[in-house]
């Protein structure tokens, strides 16, 4: 009898611990956005907007299908500005699983430079895309400036640290 009772307690404990690590400690994608000043030179210039999969078309109509087919759960986005000049947008797509994030990342082209960021990442002159777990992050600058690649990388590292 004691044997079964102990097993029950053990299973209950496992369930509670799993729930705590899986839910309680999981960070929200909308929290992944560094505040103004958290990264040197970067200012967060808009509120974070969150779109559920069903509403993603309101943000990226036409692009939404590829994310939905890859299992997007929600997308959070915010605008940034570097040194008051360079405008950029950070999109954090929360996918159902890591496979979905990988699927989107793999649609990138061969002219991208692989970077050490999250589980995998790629950098272009004006954009960075990387995945970490079930998150897929895309950061895009609206101008090509000499300091854009380095500035974007710094911002990307800060986002990655908050995921």
């Amino acid at each position: 009898m004691n044997f079964y009772s102990n097993w029950k307690w053990a299973i209950a404990a496992i369930v509670i611990i799993t729930a705590a690590t899986g839910i309680g400690c999981k960070k929200k994608a909308s929290d992944a956005f560094p505040a103004t000043g958290a990264v040197a030179g970067w200012e967060k210039t808009s509120e974070t907007r969150v779109f559920a999969a069903n509403d993603l078309w309101k943000y990226i109509d036409g692009d939404a299908e590829q994310y939905i087919s890859a299992g997007v759960v929600s997308t959070s986005t915010s605008d940034y500005k570097y040194q008051g000049q360079l405008e950029a947008t950070v999109d954090v797509h929360t996918m159902k699983d890591a496979a979905g994030a990988r699927k989107i990342l793999e649609t990138g082209t061969s002219d991208a430079k692989p970077i050490q960021l999250g589980d995998a990442g790629m950098q272009y002159a004006q954009s960075i895309i990387f995945r970490k777990g079930s998150s897929l992050v895309r950061i895009v600058a609206y101008e090509s400036t000499p300091d854009a690649p380095q500035a974007l990388l710094a911002l990307a590292h800060a986002v990655e640290a908050k995921l």
């Binding site: 078309w57 109509d61 036409g62 299908e65 405008e87």
Partner: protein, 337 residues
């Protein structure tokens, strides 16, 4: 000319619009046909591609001062009239409300250029259109702001607002698979609409240009995205009020994305430095498709067909059920200037 002014609340706007709606609605007398001939003497559909290689200078900055001259060349070539005022008077009916349907869906970086909107507004006014008779519009404020525009609903000036302010008709319109609620800006405000799309690759449709721009006039465009937007694009453009009112396109091909669209993908940005002008929306989209294919070939990318998203809606739009225009290059007269 000023399209920048403080935004009124939606309630204020609706209050103002309520009294004018019936009057404006009566302006929607369909059919401005005969003002322009969309065909050449040989019966081919005319499409003008006007280019200026110096449009984007160092640092990929648009030289905005050159846009008006490029527009004038394009319109002169299309109409055969060298004087811009005369040419524009052949295009638009004076005394009616003219809508300019921009495309800001892709966000900053790949939206209809402000310089083009301003150049058209300038010529419209010189042709006799009053500022209050010009409405620059799109889905919502965000899309318009992506073009660099500022919301204005003051009827004494050039107006600029989205369907998020004006609202949509309660009664859906239907053609084929399209069963849509249309923007009141299209149905009630405008007598004629000039489409100002921006040339882009589109991950679903293949290409987005003249006809696909109409997804921005309905309440739920996502309902039309199935099957690579085919036959959604063609069906939508067959809805009478779209077919009749959206009669002219000045396509912004000054900047484009040849892959990854319709969003902004700077890694696939390119500068065709062109305006693509015409009335035959199918011929325009066929032309846009070929421009995207040529660029993709140039950079070693597969065709849209090979990439899995060919723009099949273009042929559908030309078929016997739709008859929106021609997609046969033998029947399109391209005027490259």
């Amino acid at each position: 000319m000023n399209v920048r002014i403080a935004m009124k609340s939606r309630r204020d706007f609706l209050k103002t619009a309520a009294t004018g709606a019936l009057v404006l609605g009566s302006q929607s007398a369909l059919g401005l046909a005969g003002r322009l001939d969309p065909h050449t003497e040989s019966g081919k559909s005319k499409v003008v591609i006007a280019r200026d290689a110096a449009l984007h200078g160092a640092g990929a900055q648009l030289d905005e001062k050159r846009v008006l001259a490029l527009l004038d060349r394009a319109i002169a070539a299309y109409t055969g009239l060298d004087k811009p005022v005369e040419a524009w008077q052949r295009i638009v009916p004076v005394g009616k409300v003219i809508g300019l349907k921009t495309n800001g869906l892709g966000g900053k970086g790949i939206s209809t250029h402000l310089a083009l909107v301003l150049a058209i507004c300038e010529r419209l006014q010189q042709a006799g259109i009053k500022p209050g008779e010009i409405v620059v519009w799109d889905r919502n404020a965000r899309d318009l702001e992506a073009c660099g525009l500022t919301i204005n609903t003051d009827p004494s000036r050039i107006r600029c607002y989205g369907s998020d302010i004006a609202g949509f008709e309660d009664q859906p319109q239907k053609f084929g698979t399209a069963n849509v609620k249309l923007s009141k800006i299209l149905t009630r405000e405008c007598a004629m609409v000039i489409g100002l799309p921006i040339l882009k690759d589109h991950g679903g449709a293949g290409v987005t240009f003249a006809m696909k721009n109409m997804y921005g006039v309905v309440e739920r465009p996502q309902d039309l995205h199935g099957g690579g937007c085919n036959p959604g694009v063609a069906d939508l453009n067959c809805i009478p009020v779209i077919r009749e009112k959206v009669r002219f396109t000045i396509g912004d091909a000054m900047t484009s994305v040849y892959q990854g669209g319709p969003g902004f993908h700077p890694e696939h940005l390119w500068y065709p430095n062109a305006l693509v002008v015409g009335e035959d929306r199918v011929a325009l989209d066929y032309t846009a498709w070929q421009m995207i294919e040529r660029k993709r070939a140039e950079v070693g990318m597969p065709t849209l067909e090979a990439a899995g998203h060919p723009p099949r809606y273009i042929a559908t739009a030309a078929d016997q059920n739709h008859r929106l225009g021609v997609n046969d290059p033998q029947h399109i007269h391209h005027m490259e200037i």
